[in-house]
């Protein structure tokens, strides 16, 4: 395992060093003393590379990533997994706003809460199905304009008075599915979606995802009672199809 000390290293040098080590054959990285360096793992295409991050990685971690696995021991900031294509991100803390923006594939697992505009513009096509699991709660605009993929919101790791998800949830959603372990008032939802109870097919989809999440997070959570979940599905694949047509 290659250890890189992030202390006093600018993000460009850090990311250049990671790339050159990968070219030299290194597969496993441990980055220590990371303090806000941007774009860690950005654009990397090597499926068998794993990067452990200690400290707080900066904005747009794993943006456009296509293959590697990134494990963050602490919190992550804004823009995690921006437009990522494949690979996996595990964050053992909170993440900021706009997690998984435009995500097209791969997995993002966040142990605790996330900020605003998470899972917006996520999309899926044929076998490209991005998967996101949030262990805590989410802010406003969760899943806004979502077009594909599977998003799971557990609300299981944090305790506060906030609702499990914020306002304007799934506004403009027209593809994919959002599973929420809890109830959401209709007024918090975009008018393009409807709530449904889970069926056997959903349980089949969710069970392996929840098992993988629990194992990655090393948590034994009481999250397998599917009667506690709802799912959000779009009622139209083209909610704005007639917007400019009159």
């Amino acid at each position: 395992m290659k250890v890189i000390d992030g202390k006093d290293i600018y993000y460009k040098q850090l990311n250049e060093q990671i790339r050159s080590e990968i070219r030299a054959g290194v597969k496993d990285f441990k980055l220590v003393n990371i303090i806000g360096q941007r774009y860690i793992g950005g654009g990397l295409e090597d499926k068998d590379v794993t990067i452990h991050v200690e400290g707080v990685p900066g904005e747009d971690m794993a943006a456009f990533m296509d293959g590697p696995t990134i494990v963050v021991e602490n919190n992550a900031q804004d823009g995690v997994g921006n437009t990522m294509n494949s690979g996996k991100i595990i964050v053992h803390g909170m993440a900021g706003d706009v997690v998984g923006y435009g995500m097209r594939g791969g997995k993002v697992f966040i142990k605790e809460d996330v900020g605003y505009r998470v899972a917006i513009h996520m999309k899926g096509f044929l076998d490209k199905v991005p998967i996101m699991v949030i262990g805590g709660k989410a802010g406003n605009f969760f899943g806004e304009y979502m077009a594909g993929g599977v998003v799971v919101l557990l609300g299981a790791t944090t305790e506060n008075d906030d609702p499990i998800v914020g306002d304007y949830c799934a506004t403009g959603m027209h593809g994919g599915v959002i599973y929420i372990r809890g109830s959401v008032e209709d007024r918090m939802l975009g008018k393009e979606v409807k709530k449904f109870p889970l069926d056997k097919k959903d349980e089949k989809v969710l069970t392996p995802i929840l098992k993988e999440f629990s194992s990655d997070m090393d948590l034994s959570l009481d999250i397998f009672d599917f009667s506690k979940y709802i799912k959000l599905l779009p009622i139209s694949s083209r909610p704005y199809g007639r917007m400019y047509v009159y």
């Binding site: 993000y11 904005e59 900031q77 804004d78 900021g96 605003y116 802010g139 406003n140």
Partner: protein, 374 residues
């Protein structure tokens, strides 16, 4: 001569289109308050904002520091920026004529290859003459009048701060370089705010760097006030002409106006600036619904539209506010008696690696942290 709509220099040419007035899109900010009034060196805030280097582009950096002038703590500290040395005499005549001048000095700066063509900075420790006071004109009111008079009437002189026991330090450069330029390591304060600027819509000039101040009230801001036009007209008609060619200035004056002039609480002032949506007001219990409706109806022109996160410092504390849909990041960290508020968590961890707690405030929900009673 009191400043009013009639004799203010506005409308200036640059005000003709409010679209020329928008500020920035990707600034960085951080501030902290030691609620026990423990004074710490400016090197801490310098290190914290340097972590956000890439949120700016070298066209503006600045700091507000509270508790830095204990020797003159009962006097107003006027920080003056002179674009032209030829107007120094004019300003100093005005100060000596209108105020009691206890002490004047150059603000020490370090010559730097990085900081290009700096203006001249002087500070004046002043008080208001008892005979200037009237029944409805307090010392603060009188000083505000003098500050506005200098900013509006003297071409090439700008008061960049005017509060007691505090000061603003700002200019064109990255904030870490501006901190070196002003030797902020040699100052000690209990509240510090810092700003890293990325100007996109208005010029990167020395006066346009953040913070913007009125007396000890200072604002650093990330975002843009797209309602600047209506906000400017609102505050200008109440006697606060805008002179700094950027949107953030109106926020300073609006807070000052709402809290000091109209005696609103900080909570209510924040509600005015980032009001709840009508659909949410409609769901409130009767009493609250009435209050929020009244605030929105009375001060609609003071509501701020567009993406923003700002830090507001004053002699009593530190306040942070997000726009009502949270289009700019903000995180709050607690450690003992210190509260940090920042655009990025890493910036806090840079100077305080272990925190008691960390959270991201909700949209439109103010974070209000006041100093402990002395």
């Amino acid at each position: 001569m009191p400043i009013s709509k009639e004799n203010s220099l506005f409308p200036q040419p640059w005000v003709k289109s409010p679209y020329n007035e928008r500020d920035t899109a990707a600034c960085g900010l951080i501030g902290f308050i030691n609620k026990d009034r423990k004074r710490v060196s400016g090197s801490i805030i310098q290190k914290a904002i340097a972590n956000q280097h890439d949120r700016g582009n070298g066209l503006g950096g600045g700091f507000a520091a509270y508790g830095i002038y204990p020797k003159y703590k009962d006097l107003y500290a006027l920080h003056l920026m002179y674009d032209k040395e030829s107007v120094i005499d004019e300003v100093e005549e005005l100060i000596e004529k209108s105020l009691i001048l206890a002490h004047a000095e150059l603000i020490p700066v370090k010559k730097s290859k990085i900081i290009k063509d700096p203006p001249l900075f002087k500070r004046y420790f002043v008080d208001v003459r008892p005979e200037s006071l009237e029944e409805d004109v307090s010392a603060d009111d009188y000083l505000v009048k003098i500050v506005m008079q200098i900013n509006v009437e003297v071409d090439g002189a700008f008061v960049i701060s005017s509060g007691k026991n505090m000061g603003a330090f700002k200019g064109v450069g990255f904030p870490e370089d501006i901190a070196d330029f002003f030797d902020l390591q040699s100052y000690e304060g209990y509240i510090w705010t810092a700003h890293n600027r990325f100007p996109t819509n208005t010029p990167g000039w020395w006066g346009g760097a953040h913070p913007f101040t009125m007396l000890d009230w200072s604002i650093v801001h990330n975002g843009e006030i797209s309602s600047y036009g209506i906000n400017y007209r609102f505050i200008d008609t109440h006697g606060f002409p805008c002179t700094m060619m950027t949107d953030t200035e109106v926020v300073t004056y609006i807070i000052y106006f709402l809290v000091r002039k109209h005696k609103l609480s900080f909570e209510d002032a924040c509600t005015v600036m980032a009001p709840p949506f009508w659909k949410d007001i409609d769901r409130m219990p009767e009493r609250e619904r009435r209050r929020f409706t009244l605030l929105r109806a009375t001060y609609g022109a003071a509501a701020l539209n567009g993406p923003f996160a700002f830090l507001f410092g004053f002699n009593g504390g530190l306040i942070a506010l997000n726009d009502r849909v949270k289009l700019r990041p903000l995180v709050v960290g607690h450690k003992g008696k210190t509260v940090y508020i920042s655009s990025e968590e890493a910036s806090i961890r840079e100077v305080c690696p272990t925190l008691d707690s960390l959270y991201a405030p909700h949209a439109g929900q103010p974070t209000i942290e006041l100093l402990d009673k002395e």
